[in-house]
Amino acid sequence: MSARTCAAVLVIVLAASRAYAGDADCSYFEVTATSAKDATIDPELRPLEKKLKKPPFASWNAFHKMSGGAFALTKLKAESLHLARGAASVLLRDRHDTRIELTLTVDGPDGKRVADTKPSVTAGDWLVLGTNTKDDGHILAITCK
């Protein structure tokens, strides 16, 4: 076995061990949903575009990104998301093969707790938490793998 092959195997083993150690790479979008004369969806929201055309999001036709980005999760270490409206934190409780167990808490702008949930999602799937304020909607979408 050549040195190059050994290095490749080592990288794969390390990557696998890191994944099974309980870490996860995630990304999120904070979106505001409104009803406008012309339907618009921000180009950055392309990963969510098809979902935003289905109920319950079909009540609105204009979706704009408020914040978003990628973040890494380490097992049992809560990660805060910098939201434009309110606050949220994500905790990676555990992961088994393709299932990722999270704890997600979302607070409103007034600091009151909006939601506290413990979902177990398939890696790569989206978890969306939304609220409606009068006629507008506020959406937080998270995916981890």
Partner: protein, 196 residues
Amino acid sequence: MTRKPESELMELADREVDDAATLGGLTSDERAKVDAVGELGELVRGHLELSADAVADAKFARAWDQIEKRIALASDAEAPTGANTETAETAGGGGGLWRRAGRWFDRYRGHVITGAVSASAVAAIALYVHAPVDEARRSGSGQPIDVRPAAYRPAELESLDTPGGVSSVFHLEEEDGRTTTVIWVTPQDQDMVEDL
């Protein structure tokens, strides 16, 4: 006008003499006699030719029978004798058995082909008729066959707490089999709605 001798009329009827002048000089009785004899001669010749053909066919049939028998005898002689013959034929490697099978197939080729075509048609119809049943069974109507990959399981919520709001959970199935889970929180009171 002198009467023609019978021998001359026979020659005319047999076309042995083809003399237009002579034919033109015949009386009506003589012409009728020549025509009748000629027609009779044609009939006799036709009958004889048919008889000759029948004899030839019978002879050929007998000849082919004899040829086939000799071929069969020759193949039997070439095949192993006694117990070896039986063993060889039982094993399906015997030339005689193979030839007999070939002859049987040649003889009943039409039946075999008709049977095969009919069986194929029946099989095709059966497959076509039963296909929806199998599809329905696969889609899972009480049958534990609808197996989905673990990778496409929707999210499971161990707990969900939405203080001050009413929550609804949706599972949006994607075209690629993935599932998006949506937790929708509707505030209960207007004050909270305005705060959000």
